[in-house]
């Protein structure tokens, strides 16, 4: 573009790069000045001097191995938090803390407490800080954290496959039936997919926010969930449309599978966490529930492929993409993960699902115009999709 092509640009003198740099650096310099004043000049000292320390500790992981309780904690507050003593079940206990000494703001430490915890029973850990504050963590049902040996990994992987891959593959089997549908039927199926995805979006986002509530306040984990959701939706949108066109067919199916895969990663985390939390009895029940729930996901992945002739391998790939993330989910969940990173993970998942909702909706509009979105078939499809997901979620 020519610099003098409009009168406005002609009036403005050609910007000197030095000038621009100056006006950009000035605010930076002022900011540094304000910070220096606050930190070196201490104008607020009268306010904060002698004020009681504020201490917060969140328990990010609790791992139980025979004779040992291991905690990962994160601290926050107006000053580093010193864990002075540890009580288990209302008794002082010996412990070690790594790294030794106080835990800095937002810093983490691992606390190992030799303790003859009892399988299947409840325990309570209290950390006493140097100010006498008590931070409690209840272990509702004590079970050994699954070790990472091959047989354990294998059985957990089986759980993940049953949970993720099997139902998605089952849903994909409906693909030939989809090909025989009328245009209204097809519209219904696509809208159904939007409904299914809409439910998953709400569910994933809700999980993320719930996890975020367990993280330290100052990590702003709930905001982080929203931010990662929006950024990942935008990034995937960018990726999907990098050829200048909206993804369709196998590409769209792949994106749907990817979003669902991230959701299933979250489900895997939940099942793994249930096993780690001593609720293995619930695990079978959970897997049955998630399996029923996830069959509809396969259905949604198949929808954009209607009218095309995908290869069998494509289906295998899609099922793997959507289902396999459940396997690492179970592995990681069984080891107990920091709520903050869980929340971020759910945020990304929600973003991925939001992206495919937009793209599938776009597909309906491109096929039949925007009026089609409000047709009875579409509205019914969305409604049925949401309802089916909700009702099958009751099995979980």
């Amino acid at each position: 573009m020519a610099p003098d092509s409009t009168p406005a640009q002609a009036l403005a003198r050609p910007a000197s790069p030095w000038r621009t740099a100056f006006w950009l650096l000035l605010p930076l310099a002022v900011l540094l000045g304000i910070l220096a004043l606050l930190i070196l000049g201490k104008p607020l000292e009268r306010l904060t001097e002698g004020s009681p320390p504020v201490e917060k500790v969140s328990f990010e992981r609790v791992r139980l191995t025979p004779g040992l309780i291991s905690l990962s904690v994160r601290a926050d507050g107006s000053q580093p938090v010193t864990i002075a003593q540890v009580q288990v079940d209302a008794a002082f206990r010996t412990f070690t803390i790594e790294p030794p000494g106080p835990i800095g703001r937002l810093g983490t430490a691992r606390i190992d407490i030799p303790y003859p915890w009892v399988d299947g029973e409840g325990h309570k850990v209290v950390l006493l800080s140097s100010t006498g504050a008590a931070f409690e963590r209840e272990i509702e049902v004590a079970r050994a954290t699954p070790s990472l040996d091959t047989p354990t990994l294998a059985i957990l992987a089986l759980v993940g496959i049953l949970l993720g891959v099997a139902p998605v593959a089952t849903g994909l089997l409906a693909f030939p039936a989809l090909g025989t549908l009328s245009p209204a039927g097809m519209r219904f199926v696509l809208a159904l997919t939007v409904g299914l995805l809409g439910y998953l979006f709400l569910d994933t986002l809700g999980e993320g926010l719930e996890q975020a509530a367990g993280a330290l306040e100052r990590l702003r984990a709930q905001a982080a969930v929203w931010v990662t959701m929006i950024i990942s939706a935008g990034a995937l949108m960018l990726l999907g449309r990098r050829g200048g066109r909206a993804p369709e067919g196998a590409a769209l199916a792949a994106f749907i599978a990817f979003g669902i895969g991230l959701h299933n990663l979250g489900e895997g985390l939940a099942v793994g966490a249930a096993i780690a939390a001593g609720e293995a009895a619930l695990a079978t029940f959970l897997v049955v529930g998630f399996t029923i729930h996830n069959v509809s996901e396969g259905f949604g992945i198949a929808a954009p492929l209607v009218g095309r002739r995908p290869r069998l391998l494509t289906f295998v790939g899609l099922a793997a993409l959507a289902g396999l993330p459940a396997v690492p989910g179970v592995w990681v969940g069984a080891q107990a993960v920091s709520p903050f990173w869980m929340a971020i993970c759910f945020g990304i998942g929600a973003g991925a699902i939001l992206q495919v909702i937009v793209e599938v909706t776009g597909l309906i509009v491109r096929r039949e115009g925007s009026a089609a979105l409000l047709s009875p078939a579409s509205l019914a499809g969305v409604g049925v999709g949401l309802a089916v997901m909700y009702l099958t979620a009751l099995f979980v």
Binding site: K56, S58, T82, A91, L128, S130
Partner: protein, 370 residues
């Protein structure tokens, strides 16, 4: 204290939800030196507290506090408190009447209760329990009380005296910087206590404002039991045949939730576990036992491998309970325990509260019988 854990039947996927607690904003500034290496490194049972002392290695299992309290910085040592009777200044008037006078000062002080755990205490003379005031039946007592604390305080003595000398909000309450002289006769003889009676009472007590007040019987007033009375009279030849110690059963609510985090004999949890109390077999043991534990209705004393006689309130010269190994005291109750170790095999004999929770939270001790 611990709620019955219940199994969760339904799973929220947030099975690893974190817990967040915020301390009640009541602490003073925390000491700045909390940063150094955190206690001794532990390799598990049996390797701990090599420096602590005289116990059997591993005798505490893993039920212990980590590190060691800096008694010098606290300005008092639970081992000294066992026997540091404060007899004040005695003067004899023209009529031959003995007057005993003490000066006691209220001080706000950060006390290291457990290693690295600082508590914003209120104290008499900078220690918890306050000075063990010991006198003899019939003396005139003058307690000059200076309030050097930032809060109003009083000294309320358990004893026989006028309401004017009672140390309650309407008589003898001292504002910061003020002074009051409590004056009354030493009676009845026994094992008593004093404590601050300013309001709110719970807070003033659990912050550390209490101490033992022991009135020895005057043998001349007890012709029917002169020898017994003499054995209780500090400084007499018969008294020298005894080992006497004072144990104040107390507890601390470090996070101000009206439940105790720490229980102890003489303030520092496990102090007599880390370093047992030495008892000679040749002399009988007399314990002046006081319970000032706040929030819990009773505290108790139980000894292993031996039985004892007990004098409730110490106001009699014959035991009120004979041949028992466990007694309990409500808050403010106290008594005298008399124990004989002469026939025992030397070694370590445990004593503690027989509320297991109190024991494991710090009120666990040992005698080292030699």
């Amino acid at each position: 204290m611990l709620a019955n854990p219940k199994r969760r039947l339904l799973l929220g996927a947030g099975a690893v939800a974190g817990a967040i607690a915020t301390p009640i904003a009541a602490g003073f500034a925390v000491r700045s030196a909390v940063g150094q290496a955190h206690g001794p490194a532990h390799g598990g049972a049996g390797t701990t507290h090599a420096a602590a002392g005289h116990g059997i290695p591993g005798m505490e299992g893993d039920n212990l506090i980590v590190g060691a309290v800096d008694h010098a910085r606290n300005g008092f040592n639970p081992h000294d408190i066992l026997t540091d009777w404060d007899v004040g200044e005695v003067s004899t008037g023209p009529d031959g009447r003995r007057t005993r006078e003490w000066v006691v000062t209220a001080v706000d002080k950060e006390v290291e209760l457990a290693p690295e755990l600082m508590f914003p205490a209120w104290t008499f003379n900078g220690r918890i329990p306050g000075p063990t005031l010991r006198c003899t039946e019939g003396e005139r007592l003058r307690i000059v009380f200076n309030n050097g604390s930032a809060h109003p305080h009083s000294m309320h003595f358990h004893g026989i005296h006028s309401w004017r000398m009672d140390g309650v909000p309407y008589a003898g309450l001292v504002q910061p910087g003020g002074q009051f002289i409590y004056e009354f006769d030493a009676k009845p003889f026994g094992c008593h206590l004093y404590h601050c009676h300013a309001l709110p009472l719970k807070r003033h007590i659990h912050k550390g404002m209490y101490g033992a007040f022991i009135v020895d019987p005057d043998p001349a007033r007890h012709p029917e039991a002169t020898a017994v009375a003499e054995s209780r009279l500090l400084g007499s030849a018969r008294n020298a045949e005894w080992q006497e110690i004072m144990i104040c059963m107390n507890a601390f609510d470090t996070n101000f939730d009206d439940e105790n985090e720490i229980y102890a004999a003489n303030t520092i949890p496990f102090a007599y576990q880390q370093k047992p109390i030495r008892v000679e077999r040749g002399r009988k043991l007399r314990i002046y036992l006081v319970n000032i534990t706040e929030f819990d209705p009773v505290n108790s004393f139980h000894v292993h491998g031996n039985f004892f006689d007990y004098y409730d309130h110490g106001t009699t010269l014959t035991p009120t309970l004979r041949v028992v190994d466990t007694i309990m005291q409500c808050q403010g109750q106290r008594g005298i325990i008399e124990m004989d170790w002469s026939e025992h095999e030397p070694g370590h004999y445990m004593f503690h509260a027989h509320q297991s929770e109190f024991a494991e939270l710090g009120w666990m001790s040992h005698f080292e019988v030699v």
